[in-house]
Symmetry: C2
């Protein structure tokens, strides 16, 4: 598998982005991905029972298993906008479909931004002719920029691998400043490939890999109304991927790498984040125990604030493990901070203070929490909680 520059795109896909005037700060705010042929499609959307209009629309279309275009706007989430919000989503998709001469149900809509404000659908529709004209295979970076909100950087990765003598490409583009933004939690991710995969297998792979990537990151524990992960497979490479073929493993490895690297980029760009924390719980009784313990530590305000303060505060970590409900005995828990054994049998290891103080200053810290209670493990990525998180989320006025 090799990484390659995103500007090289993927054969058969075009990208475009432009400024339609939806964002207050006048950046790029409408983006488009088009495939030159119908693609198999799969998706995972937020479990929040309050779902934005485009999420509801996407969910229905994904069930049909076929799509050709993804239309995204930033600056407005089109959430809590009622029947009018659904109509606005529908009319933008319909306008794009007409101009591309494709079926309306082949257009997948996504929105991210302010909640509860009517979507300025006219601005999007007016922008479509220029957007379609501008679409080229080399504009993925522009698309990546057009979907950002409080993100400080674009999040893209593209990899390819020769399978049966032909290159197969997988490209990922995401947004999400820690699943949060000034007015609404949001992450979006788009995975496109020229592999030939049927929608059912694509769905299975996407769900399984989503569990190991975007479901293993945590910034503030708030759940979005707009979270959406979409995957499109065009088949243009001519390389067919089936569950029991030899081609399956190398493709799956590409998908995994793309999704995990995007997840990592999202946490690193978490709002106000100064440190990346890898919370690894090992030797848990069950997979569920490992995950709930790691998640509880990852979302604890006290733990995250202590790391911001570079304070070796293992008591808060052990308390969060205890709060999680995971089966454990505190007197058996040990913890490594990077390579240093910091806690053994539920007690701080004496004499490590200087080395631990050095580790606490690092930008990336791996905390391994060994429950000595089984064989299961789980790693969750999180970031610290800083003054800037408060600033970003409090100093915004609707």
């Amino acid at each position: 598998m090799q990484k390659y520059p995103i500007r090289q795109g993927i054969p058969g896909f075009k990208f475009a982005a432009l400024q339609a005037g939806i964002k207050k700060d006048n950046g790029l705010d409408v983006g488009l991905i088009i495939s030159d042929r119908p693609c198999a499609v799969a998706g995972v959307v937020t479990r929040n029972s309050v779902k934005a209009a485009p999420v509801l629309d996407c969910s229905k279309k994904i069930n049909r298993g076929v799509a050709r275009a993804i239309l995204v706007n930033s600056g407005n989430a089109n959430a809590c906008t009622g029947e009018k919000g659904l109509q606005a989503t529908d009319s933008t998709c319909a306008a794009l479909a007409t101009q591309l001469d494709i079926k309306k149900q082949w257009v997948l809509p996504c929105s991210t931004g302010v909640i509860g404000v009517p979507l300025p659908e006219g601005k999007i529709i007016d922008a479509l002719p220029d957007l379609i004209t501008a679409a080229t295979s080399s504009q993925a970076a522009g698309f990546a920029e057009s979907i950002l909100t409080t993100d400080t950087c674009t999040k893209t990765i593209s990899v390819r691998e020769k399978i049966n003598g032909h290159y197969v490409h997988v490209c990922g583009i995401a947004k999400g400043s820690g699943m949060i933004m000034p007015n609404m939690a949001t992450m979006l991710a788009f995975i496109i490939t020229d592999a030939d995969i049927d929608a059912s297998l694509l769905r299975t792979m996407l769900r399984e890999e989503n569990e190991l990537s975007f479901n293993r990151i945590c910034v503030d524990g708030d759940m979005s109304t707009n979270d959406t992960v979409l995957a499109m497979a065009s088949g243009k490479s001519g390389i067919s991927i089936k569950r029991n073929s030899k081609r399956y493993a190398p493709f799956r490895a590409m998908l995994r790498r793309v999704m995990q690297e995007l997840a990592l980029m999202i946490v690193k760009d978490g709002e106000g984040a100064t440190k990346l924390l890898r919370i690894n719980v090992s030797s848990a009784r069950t997979d569920a125990d490992a995950k709930k313990a790691a998640m509880q530590v990852a979302r604890s305000c006290l733990v995250k604030t202590a790391f911001f303060g570079e304070d070796f505060n293992w008591g808060r970590i052990i308390a969060a493990v205890g709060q999680s409900g995971a089966a454990c005995k505190p007197e058996r828990i040990s913890m490594h901070f990077n390579t240093i054994l910091a806690v053994c049998d539920g007690q701080a290891v004496p004499g490590n203070q200087k080395r631990l103080a050095q580790i606490m200053k690092k930008k990336e810290i791996k905390i391994n929490i060994d429950l000595a209670n089984g064989t299961k493990s789980c790693e969750v990525l999180t970031c610290d909680l800083s003054y800037d998180y408060i600033k970003i989320n409090a100093d915004y006025t609707t």
Copy 2:
């Protein structure tokens, strides 16, 4: 029911506090409550599976239903201290019992403060003779101060009511700066009364009232290893309280008021809090739905930060309701901010901006979230999330 000054105490109870040198800042750090006779006792302790040594010891003793003294230290939580921690707790209780000539199992221990540091039991034991000598009926305020950690004020309330011609007293003393402190989440509450109640009824009442008071507050969502609520009933008033007697209702009202006022004081003194938020969810399908929706809103970092920024950000509230899993349809949700209808049928009500901006500036805001989905309701008290929360919890160095 009338409130009266805490310095008047309760007949039959004595209080004491002194400085034993456990706290770094040299404040009062050991406190004692003694009853002149055996009391019925009940308690509720943290559900965290990591429990501090005094919590484990208290739990066993409470099951016997009888106690005469409460011995508290601040500055050290005696949590994650292993077998030695249990021994330290036991030896301090044993020393007090010997000097008071009472049974060891009649002494209930509580600790609050730094986690994972051995309890300096010698300092506590050395302090006991002076502590016992100092004990008087008028020292409740001193006791209330000795149990504080990051709290900015003591939390006490005392009420009495004439029942069958005799005064019955209920006095409450608590600590908890939002269930959190620099090194460990902690709240403690002590309820004492001279009513005559058997331990079984006292336990039932305490659990039910705890559900409506200390289980309805939230500062940062972190759960303590040391949370303990204890109730002692001496019977000295001669007034017996039984479930079906006429005396039950007035006593229960006193207990409720004491516990709810203490809970309110804890939230108001939440770390860094600038606003008290009353999150009331109404018209829910079930009690459980009402509580989980209110709790999810109350613990949302995004909601709490928005209130700190005085930003009318109803979208974050509706997203938190959706995240909670409570049965609801977003297009039916309405919200009042104090008396102003801010959201109706899932949409912001236009034309209220100025009045809402005024409300957002207030120190106390009641947010009523009507799910229009049933008849159940729940109110949870919380506070905003400010720069000072980060400062208090990050700028501390172990």
